[in-house]
């Protein structure tokens, strides 16, 4: 079957989709967006978390056909999504969001995957525009193997959107669907606190 939906602000068309495929599979294997991860494929680990019409979901549990006509945001589009949100709240610095229709084209996504770079001054991606939560994860040391990171970022960003001043218990509750095996979660807590603090300073 063919599935038409919007990914990171850009219309996408996936062809030859078998009806049993998940949204996760279509993103990773058909659209060249492997940022959403496949740690359990049974809805337990949260590594595949994406926003579906704004709601965080495990994309491994969403049948591809269910996203027809809907909007998906993945970790690959998180920086731009966060930038647009801050524009919408008037917190955007001039020009930060750009004015074109935005989104990530399939070609762009494949190019990143192929080269591991976005053409910044270094292949670490130093200088890449990041969402506040992404920068906070790096700065706080919340990334080790990084396999849980994309899902945690999407979930944490969504929580901060709803609850800009979370208590520790709020953070733990909001992220309790995202397993991490490396960090013991302490640096993830630090990262979310850091992002919240920076967000409130910038507001």
């Amino acid at each position: 079957m063919r599935v038409n939906f919007t990914v990171n602000g850009r219309p996408q068309e996936a062809d030859d989709v078998w009806e049993g495929e998940s949204l996760l599979y279509v993103l990773r294997e058909r659209l060249g967006l492997p940022g959403s991860k496949n740690a359990c494929e049974q809805g337990e680990c949260g590594s595949c978390t994406v926003r579906l019409d704004g709601v965080p979901v495990c994309s491994c549990l969403v049948a591809a056909g269910q996203v027809e006509g809907r909007e998906v945001v993945t970790v690959e589009g998180l920086a731009e999504y966060a930038a647009r949100r801050s524009c919408g709240t008037g917190a955007c610095e001039a020009g930060a969001c750009g004015t074109d229709s935005g989104g990530t084209s399939l070609d762009e996504a494949r190019r990143w995957s192929a080269q591991g770079t976005r053409g910044t001054d270094s292949q670490t991606g130093e200088g890449t525009e990041l969402a506040p939560i992404q920068q906070a994860f790096i700065d706080a040391g919340a990334v080790q193997c990084g396999f849980c990171t994309p899902g945690l970022l999407v979930a944490a960003d969504e929580m901060l959107e709803r609850n800009p001043d979370p208590t520790d218990a709020d953070i733990r509750e909001a992220l309790s669907g995202n397993l991490c095996r490396c960090t013991g979660y302490e640096k993830i807590m630090d990262a979310v606190r850091l992002a919240a603090a920076r967000q409130s300073e910038g507001a």
Binding site: A39, R110, D121
Partner: protein, 794 residues
């Protein structure tokens, strides 16, 4: 379009700098937070096929027949292979003992053993085709414990063993046995005023790394294969893969793809050979990605263990003797069992001074899932038991539990039961003092003006208590872990370092085969290169087999050994650069010949700080590059009869204090805090050090209260191969983990550092158990603790 997700150079230094001792951020951090970092399961190739493995549905059986016809006839299927299709006479592999069949031959020895492999144009097609393979099994009785393994009529799991352990084991269903005997326990027992005994059970833990076993094998024009893979040791894989494929090692070109955690579970091969076989058979790239269900069958686990301990002490609180027997269940194949036995025995009494010891450790062959390496590696199971014993004995003597440990703690100069002198700092008593001195978390933190916050109570959002029936407990534990490969293993690493001028800037490229599995080795390599060569820009080359072996990313060894190799190679590069400088510029300034010269800030400077030349001018157009192996001090095997010998390189010590709250009515545990103090020698990257300690602590917490692979003793089948039924700690289960880092340099190690990754996994578990015992008054001799053990309904 070719392949996407190929590993590439990662360069750091434009914005992020930092030498050793600084909390430099990860060079791959931005790639990992943007979703661009390519893990092994993200690899993609045009026209690639998907591989799938058919696994045994029973644990022990003869295979009567395998019929692949229907699977092969399925549209979209390109190949189906069984044992009969293996291309050479080498059909087994293994880390130390080559006892593991690539595909089952006539017999399966554990639930989930690979029987056949399929390649198809869609993963679901491959799965469905595999399900059409008809395997007829004739089931055999299952061997699941020591009694059934060593019974007079026990079926031999492996007939006709020829490995080098078979000569000294008491039964062919025992992989390896290591006794360690020193002093005279019988005589020492006479001096004991108090003797305590205990029988302990340690459940089977899974590494549960999040990135599933996966990789991409691409057949090459020259008849070889390029394999992109998540592993802990590329060269160990290569040594096992190439003979099965019938290829020379230089035709199996391996590159490390992104690794989503490891913790020991990637030390053995998983899908590597299967993907290569299918790629060479079909002539097409083949990708294999396990799902979580398969991952539970696709790698070895931590050995479950039964441990019997007897400890004695005098009235004034000095240990007289320890006698113990540790039975590890290695499952169907040897994997790392012999080395796990070596660790469990040699570290079997913990970081304490005891002159009279009688230790025996064995690993069994059974039909349970194969067990091998997991963070802590044999030392974990022993620590759980000896720390429970230390509490029991302290109580018997009537002494404070921490003070009792301190009174018997080893220090620099102490002897291990193996007779080896601990010749670097061993601040065991100090770590206990520090962890005890940390402020305790306030009582009843869950109380607020709006009532109880159930998220902070046992049972959490299940809303099972608002504080009624909740009791607090505190427990302590300390442990000792060896660093590096022991028992005479040639534990070396290799580094290739290149220094060149690029666009007017000096740039270092570090190329090793070290598996970055998340620990931050790549961060540390860049830091070492900056410190040694005075540059800011460092490029980390992808790890592959085009450079010499780095050894395994395990045993807490990579910062020590590959870090040591990078440091050594940088020092040799520096010598060559300075020699070039002397040739080019020596006549201009006498200091070139007389002063101690350093590389700092991109310049050659004297030790007095005088600048002699720009590094780029010394380098000119010609790079300096070299590759060197590096070794730490050699070790020696343990004597097979007495266990005596200088078997270890270095030790790592950590202590924990656990604070728990237990809902005694429902048997639910909430760990409130897990404080840790650890000696790290020298923290090359303090941020990463603390991250390792917190992560290791949490894995210890998991096996204390929730993590266990449950194997049916009647069938040897795994009952809970999913994250629904095998629980690992969530962020709600995990407490705050304050960390106190001590830095007492080990003069034998690069920069004085100490391998740190595993020690916190040891003492975390017994500290939590001790706290639960303290809260409930129950004996609790097994881990993990389940609610029924606390409510008396087990």
């Amino acid at each position: 379009m070719g392949t996407t997700g190929l590993p590439t150079n990662i360069t750091q230094g434009v914005r992020t700098k930092g030498g050793i001792g600084e909390s430099t951020l990860r060079p791959d951090g931005t790639l990992k937070v943007t979703g661009e970092f390519a893990y092994s399961s993200d690899m993609w190739h045009e026209d690639m096929l998907w591989g799938h493995i058919l696994r045994s549905t029973v644990a022990h059986a003869n295979i009567v027949s395998i019929d692949t016809a229907e699977a092969l006839a399925t549209p979209g299927v390109y190949a189906v292979m069984t044992y009969d299709d293996l291309p050479t006479d080498v059909k087994n592999y293994g880390l130390e003992i080559q006892d593991t069949p690539v595909l089952a031959h006539g017999k399966v020895r554990h639930h989930g053993e690979p029987v056949a492999i399929v390649a198809a144009d869609h993963p679901e097609t491959a799965r469905r085709a595999a399900a059409k393979i008809k395997v007829e099994y004739r089931e055999l009785p299952v061997i699941t414990d020591e009694a059934s393994a060593t019974a007079p009529d026990a079926i031999l799991i492996h007939e006709n063993r020829t490995d080098h352990h078979v000569g000294h084991v008491p039964h062919p269903n025992i992989v390896h046995r290591q006794p360690i005997v020193r002093g005279d326990v019988t005589e020492a027992r006479e001096r004991a005023d108090f003797i305590v005994e205990g029988e302990y059970v340690f459940g089977m833990q899974d590494q549960a790394f999040l990135g599933p076993e996966s990789g991409l094998a691409v057949p090459a024009q020259d008849g070889g294969v390029d394999l992109y893979i998540a592993t802990q040791w590329l060269h160990s894989d290569l040594r096992q893969i190439a003979p099965v494929l019938g290829l020379p090692e230089d035709k199996v070109r391996m590159t490390l793809a992104g690794v989503g955690g490891a913790f020991g579970g990637r030390e053995d091969l998983s899908m590597q050979i299967h993907a290569c076989l299918l790629a060479l058979r079909t002539g097409k790239p083949v990708k294999i990605v396990y799902n979580r269900f398969e991952s539970f069958f696709g790698h070895v686990h931590r050995h479950p263990a039964k441990l019997h301990y007897e400890h004695g002490a005098t009235r004034d609180g000095k240990l007289t003797h320890v006698k113990c027997r540790i039975v590890l269940d290695g499952g169907a194949y040897a994997s790392a069992s012999p080395a796990v036995v070596g660790n469990a025995s040699s570290l079997g009494i913990g970081p304490y001074v005891v002159d009279d010891v009688d230790i025996e450790a064995i690993a069994l062959y059974t039909n349970n899932p194969p067990c091998g390496a997991m963070r802590g590696f044999g030392a974990v199971q022993a620590c759980f038991a000896y720390e429970a014993q230390m509490d029991k004995l302290a109580d018997a003597v009537g002494m404070d539990r921490v003070e009792f440990r301190q009174r018997n703690a080893m220090a620099q100069g102490s002897l291990l039961p193996t007779g080896q002198v601990v010749d670097s700092p061993a601040p065991v008593a100090e770590l206990l003092r520090r962890v005890k001195a940390m402020p305790l978390p306030p009582e009843r933190q869950w109380e607020s003006s709006e009532g109880a916050d159930v998220r902070q109570l046992p049972g959490g959002l299940s809303n099972t208590t608002h504080g009624e029936g909740v009791v607090r407990g505190v427990g302590y534990a300390v442990g000792i872990k060896n660093v590096g490969f022991s028992e005479g293993f040639d534990d070396y690493s290799t580094a290739r370092v290149r220094l060149e001028a690029v666009a007017g800037e000096p740039v270092v490229t570090v190329h090793t085969a070290m598996a970055e599995v998340g620990q931050g080795g790549v961060t540390v390599h860049a830091q070492i290169a900056r410190t040694e060569l005075g540059v800011t820009q460092v490029t980390i080359h992808p790890a592959d087999t085009r450079v010499g072996s780095a050894g395994s990313t395990s045993a807490s060894r990579q910062t020590y050994v590959t870090g040591g190799a990078v440091k050594n190679a940088c020092e040799l590069v520096r010598e060559q650069v300075l020699e070039r400088g002397r040739r080019k510029f020596g006549t201009y300034h006498p200091a070139w010949a007389t002063a101690e010269l350093l590389l700092e800030g991109g310049k050659v400077v004297t030790d007095a700080g005088e600048v002699l030349a720009d590094l780029v001018d010394v380098l000119g157009d010609e790079a300096v590059e070299l590759e060197r192996e590096w070794r730490h001090r050699p070790t020696e095997p343990f004597d097979l009869r007495t266990g005596q010998g200088n078997g270890h390189v270095q030790y790592s010590f950590a202590a924990h204090r656990a604070v728990v709250e237990v809902d005694t009515e429902l048997g639910l545990v909430k760990v409130i805090e897990l404080a840790c103090a650890q000696d790290v020698g020298k923290a090359l990257n303090p941020l990463s050090v603390v991250g390792q300690i917190q992560g290791g602590t949490t894995q210890g917490l998991g096996v204390a209260v929730m993590e266990e692979i449950v194997v049916d003793p009647k069938t040897a089948k795994v009952k809970n191969p999913s994250f629904t039924d095998y629980l690992i700690p969530t962020i709600l289960d995990t407490p705050t983990i304050p960390v106190d880092v001590l830095e007492l340099a080990d003069e034998h190690a690069p920069y004085g550092l100490r391998g740190i990754g595993e020690a916190p996994t040891l003492s975390s578990t017994p500290a939590v158990l001790a706290a639960i015992r303290n809260a409930t008054g129950l004996e609790l001799n097994r881990t993990p603790v389940r609610p029924e053990h606390l409510t008396g309904t087990a």
